[in-house]
């Protein structure tokens, strides 16, 4: 109980410290007076950019390739419900692991509201978590095996989880992908522009060696393939055909990238943050320092921080604590530097990330968030400053209309295991699918 109170205290003070207008901002908003838009999200399986342009996307390959909107065909009011159920039915090629995730919900009904004042835009999301009894704020950890600290746990589609070699653990997330009209095709095909064969858990996933041998991946020092926009490849059907960095830099300078904001139940929530990223040649974080950082020292291969026994009541947790205790490590609150001589026992687990609102800096720290999980309903309010001028941000301005896609990672999922919406429009005081109203 004491710990929970401490966490709430940390959350609120961190938010207050990071967002000057919070006292009059989101906490003062009467959301009952803000119009609510129902947005359905569905489980897309492996419906990649390439699959959508293949004959497997029956009767629609040509239409997709020429840039038709998804909703030019998928326009039934129950479309998301129907598609999600089909993909998870066990008979659909887009989800080869349907049996392993039996019982997963095919769609999510989400309520979206938006408001703005002179400083910020406020985007509020509400949805029912699949697990009505847990907020989904657990995250994989580092487990001491008696000799070394090794990664433990993974999302439901993780190979080791599917093989029964590790536990099912992952945080919930609410994501917004936003375009100001500069990414060709996003208004029509939304998030599906960024989802490609070769990405994690998608079809034709390359090996780490193959990725590291690729010219673009080598240049950006990445060992896996993540979201990218088609324009960054000479052949958008093939992740490996990356354009030279100079061309990609020009695209960025011209604003040809997507904003990606993510609220994370484990890695950002308790410090009042939502990360700020962008999708271009990869799924990048903005410049600066995020709200969360690795808790592993790459040189010593030891954790950097452990729990403060005096504040957390323990220096580490164990696998049995997942789902029961809040295993979130926060700098300046419940964390102390790791002591290798603290008498570690096999099975001790420490978080993979250390959180800090104070350390977050630069463009990466632009977004703030408030949240509540109550009676199985998750509420998240993103706080996005208006008029950001950073090179890696899309500036939201009164009167502006933006194309947006939403995603929810729920029930121990990351990567493609999310629910996604078709493209909507967001207007900041302008008519759109979701219109942000001006606060008095």
């Amino acid at each position: 109980m004491k710990k929970r109170a401490l966490m709430i205290g940390i959350s609120l003070s961190a938010i207050a410290a990071g967002c000057a207008s919070v006292a009059t901002g989101p906490q003062a908003i009467n959301w009952d007076k803000v119009p609510a838009t129902k947005v359905a999200l569905f489980y897309p399986g492996q419906s990649s950019y390439q699959w959508l342009r293949s004959e497997a996307h029956a009767g629609a390959a040509k239409e997709t390739a020429r840039g038709d909107a998804c909703t030019s065909c998928h326009d039934d009011p129950k479309e998301e419900q129907r598609q999600g159920a089909k993909i998870l039915s066990g008979k659909h090629p887009l989800e080869p692991h349907a049996a392993a995730i039996k019982g997963k919900n095919g769609h999510i009904d989400m309520t979206v509201q938006a408001a703005y004042d002179d400083k910020n835009a406020y985007l509020r999301f509400q949805y029912k978590t699949h697990n009505p009894n847990h907020p989904g704020n657990d995250y994989p950890g580092y487990r001491f095996d008696g000799k070394e600290w090794k990664a433990f746990g993974g999302m439901r589609l993780n190979k080791n989880v599917l093989a029964g070699k590790t536990a099912t653990v992952y945080e919930n997330r609410v994501n917004i992908m936003l375009d100001d009209g500069k990414v060709p095709g996003f208004a029509q095909q939304g998030c599906w522009l960024t989802c490609h064969d070769g990405e994690r858990d998608m079809q034709k996933e390359p090996t780490k060696d193959q990725v590291e041998a690729n010219a673009l991946m080598k240049a950006i020092k990445k060992s896996d393939v993540r979201k990218f926009i088609p324009g960054t490849r000479t052949n958008p059907m093939d992740w490996s055909t990356g354009k030279p960095l100079e061309e990609i830099a020009k695209m960025k300078a011209n604003g040809e990238f997507l904003e990606l904001m993510q609220w994370r139940a484990h890695r950002s929530d308790k410090v009042g943050g939502a990360d700020d990223g962008f999708v271009l040649e990869y799924r990048n974080f903005d410049a600066g320092k995020n709200h969360f950082n690795s808790n592993m020292d790459s040189k010593t291969k030891l954790p950097k921080f452990m729990f403060d026994q005096a504040k957390a009541g323990t220096k580490a947790y164990t696998a049995g604590d997942y789902g029961k205790k809040e295993m979130i490590l926060i700098k300046g609150a419940n964390a102390v530097p790791f002591d290798p001589n603290a008498g570690w026992k096999e099975g001790d687990i420490l978080p993979q990330y250390i959180l800090s609102a104070e350390d977050a800096a630069g463009s990466a720290a632009d977004n703030k968030a408030l949240s509540e999980w109550k009676n199985g309903v998750q509420t998240v309010v993103f706080i996005r400053p208006l008029g950001l001028a950073n090179a890696d941000d899309k500036a939201l301005k009164p009167g502006g209309v933006y194309n947006v896609g939403f995603a929810v990672h729920d029930d121990n999922m990351t990567g493609r295991g999310h629910h996604v919406s078709y493209t909507k429009t967001l207007g900041i005081g302008a008519k759109a699918d979701i219109t942000a109203v001006k606060l008095n």
């Binding site: 029956a58 009767g59 629609a60 040509k62 239409e63 030019s72 065909c73 998928h74 326009d75 039934d76 129950k78 129907r82």
Partner: protein, 112 residues
Amino acid sequence: MIKTNMYALIVSATVGSLCLATPALAQVDAEEVFKENDCHKCHHATKAKKGPSLAKIAAKYKDKKLDEKEAMKHMTGGKKVKLDDGTEEDHKIIDTKDVAVQTAVAKWMLNR
């Protein structure tokens, strides 16, 4: 009391006979079958999509005095269909061999 019982008897007899007389056809949610088969992706109720609208199909059938049997041939034959851009494609085949279901879907379409 007797009156009430008689009334109940008549009602239950009527309902019972209706149930017995109800053909399998009436149990089919034709619209759901239509949508489960993704037919709606090409055929909207009123507007032209990749294929003609249901309203246009119904009008054409009425004009040519065609009935659901012709529509069933269309949805089960997989014949080539000509698109607006001049290209041709195989028409999708409905995922049921149940004639009662096919009939229900065809009748539902032609009644739009």
